[in-house]
């Protein structure tokens, strides 16, 4: 896989089927529904203590806005990922082009996905620091690799946005 900036696009080329599939899983992975730990992390309380009325109001007025914000980002990413759809036989050496104007949506969706996966698997800080962890083994190993791979993409996008 190669990743580089080309004019107003971020180009990820020579995508093998495995990494292409991980990319295609970003929108689904970003969805915290059905996982209470992930929901709790994504929609964490705005205040510590006993301000139950304020927290209730937050849930009614702020959370739906946040939910819409996150869904919009995931939808933008899903739209870009349609480039990877099609004939499965041609998945090898696929290229994905991300318009730079979608960079914020990608940062958000990648972050959502990383947080949701980490919350679902209860990864420890030590595990998350193991950037060379092999994806081969258990489902947990694969999830950890996914978190690290998405983190790598986030870092690249952030670096390119600074230029």
């Amino acid at each position: 896989m190669e990743i580089r900036r080309r004019k107003n696009q971020i180009e990820i080329s020579e995508l093998d089927p495995f990494l292409a599939e991980l990319l295609r899983q970003i929108p689904a992975s970003a969805n915290p529904e059905g996982a209470p730990a992930a929901e709790e992390r994504i929609f964490n309380p705005p205040i510590n203590g006993e301000e139950t009325e304020f927290c209730a109001e937050w849930k009614v007025y702020v959370e739906p806005e946040l939910r819409r914000l996150f869904q919009t980002a995931a939808q933008t990413v899903a739209g870009d990922l349609e480039q990877l759809n099609g004939n499965e036989k041609n998945l090898a050496n696929r290229t994905l082009r991300i318009p730079c104007k979608h960079a914020d949506a990608w940062l958000s969706a990648l972050n959502q996905a990383r947080l949701v996966i980490a919350a679902k698997n209860s990864f420890t800080e030590t595990e998350l620091s193991d950037h060379l962890h092999s994806p081969i083994g258990s489902r947990r190993d694969l999830s950890l690799f996914q978190v690290n791979f998405y983190g790598f993409l986030q870092e690249f996008i952030l670096r390119e946005m600074e230029c």
Binding site: P46, I47, N48, V62, L115, F123, E125, L128, V147
Partner: protein
């Protein structure tokens, strides 16, 4: 840790003044309307702070970018706060009125950071 000045946050009574030409002056003078912005006494006396808590998932570079965007901090100041979050577990990003602190927390949640508002004790 840095605290922003609070002077701009204090409510100032808004006095509506109407200038009338002398020929059109009414025979009786109306008492000018004084509009005041009502706030809880507590909110004026006790400032609030926006606290960001450590999270092992969020990338350091991402957190720095968020601090720059939300608070308009220069990169070195944003990095200082990011490192404080990373090393001490939390950092106070801003202090002032509750209303504005709530807005900042909402923005930080939009970037998926662990942020809370706290009353300064």
């Amino acid at each position: 840790m840095s605290a922003e000045p609070l002077a701009a946050e204090v409510a100032v009574p808004l006095i509506s003044t109407i200038v009338c030409p002398k020929s059109a002056a009414p025979s009786t003078i109306a008492i000018p309307t004084i509009e005041t912005e009502t706030r809880e006494e507590e909110a004026l006396d006790v400032p609030w702070q926006v606290v960001v808590h450590n999270d092992p998932v969020n990338l350091m570079s991402y957190v720095t970018m968020v601090f720059q965007r939300v608070f308009g901090y220069p990169r070195d100041k944003a990095e200082k706060h990011m490192l404080e979050v990373h090393q001490k577990g939390r950092s106070i990003l801003w202090s002032g009125t509750r209303e504005r602190a709530e807005l900042y927390v909402q923005q930080l949640h939009g970037y998926l950071l662990l942020a809370t508002l706290e009353k300064i004790s």
